[in-house]
Symmetry: C2
Subunit: 225 residues, 2 copies
């Protein structure tokens, strides 16, 4: 019996699926995907690992639920006359959510889920595009294109974060670029060396990169209307 889950009278403070999922998100945010085991989570909640199975079917179900909590943080755009603004807001929102929960994007593509929250989310995106005048096939393609880009960008930017203790400040990014530059054999990779020198001097503008790509895509789609 865990004291943290029982008061003096011996009453259990019951787990619920939601609290299990929220604790999982907390643990994932703090220590990443590899730190999540049923035992670690159980310990965090003051119960034994097997108790979690009263609330989630298995670890996969747990991860699905945790992911859904993150997806709920992504703004569902309302169409207010500008589909580009709506899609931009949603893309930025998604990127921020994935940045807050770096583990989440890695789960997105390895699970197929038809939870109501996700269906609502997809429907709303399609709705914005349809209202803006996209044909159904074009709406589907636009959606796929934007999503692929946003998602791919987020995944790739994790690569950079992972190489430097998750530090996001400019100093450590400059240090990284300098380290990288120092590692390069002088003449083998001229273009890479060039780019590393630029990054070393000016720093890496991740947000600028993201916006650049997003704008280009949105403009390209607009030209098809």
């Amino acid at each position: 019996m865990k004291k943290s889950e029982k008061n003096e009278a011996g009453i259990r403070s019951p787990l619920a699926r939601d609290s299990v999922l929220r604790a999982a998100v907390g643990l994932l945010d703090e220590s990443g995907i590899d730190s999540l085991s049923m035992r670690a989570l159980g310990k965090r909640l003051g119960v034994e690992a097997m108790s979690l199975y009263n609330h989630v079917s298995n670890k996969e179900d747990l991860l699905d639920g945790a992911l859904d909590l993150v997806l709920e943080e992504i703004a569902i755009p309302a169409y207010d006359g500008s589909w580009k603004t709506a899609m931009r807001e949603r893309a930025v929102s998604a990127r921020l959510a994935f940045k807050r929960h770096p583990w989440a994007s890695g789960l997105l593509d390895s699970r197929v889920s038809s939870s109501p929250a996700r269906l609502r989310y997809y429907d709303a995106i399609l709705g914005v595009l349809r209202q803006a005048g996209f044909t159904l096939p074009l709406a589907a393609r636009a959606y796929s294109l934007i999503d692929s880009y946003v998602y791919g960008f987020c995944r790739q930017s994790l690569n950079m974060s992972a190489s430097g203790e998750d530090s996001q400040d400019g100093d450590s990014q400059e240090l990284r670029a300098q380290d990288f530059q120092a590692q390069l054999p002088p003449d083998s990779f001229p273009h890479l060396a060039e780019m590393a020198a630029l990054a070393s001097k000016e720093g890496y503008d991740e947000e600028g990169d993201f916006e650049f790509g997003l704008d280009l895509i949105l403009q390209g789609l607009e030209s098809l209307l």
Copy 2:
């Protein structure tokens, strides 16, 4: 002593790093990332798991090496006057490689590597863009944009494959779309329902989707030159 690794005279056929990695790729291709354990791989090679550690430092090193083998399958474009053709070929080549090795793209973003093969690869891409007249900052952004899209697209298309036993023929894709449609509450998600009906009728043209996005991006980049 494993018979498969010894002939009658008791001579060991020695493992080498390359054969270890190739066997890993084979296992990953057949059965996916979750099937790869050191013991499973050792068994496949006719040795004990611990013997693998003479050739790879640890499991991470093994996965890095396996990924490098896949990346070597991606064409390094030569600049022959058309940067768009070069970038297209490379994007298509990457997509095909990831399609052949569905597990690979999932590894790409969780590991940071500076193997010579990868540096050569990145340098060649940047080289094409620079030769085409892209400024250095623009080349970096173009590269990031295209890569994010290609990578994100591949990851997302795995989502669809995963829901249907990796079957790629039209029949099972139509079945999936119909199943999906049947699951939708009638009026809750009108746009999704609409799209599911379309996919059910016409099938899912994944390659068309990919080309559409790629073309749009390449055209958008061209307009910046």
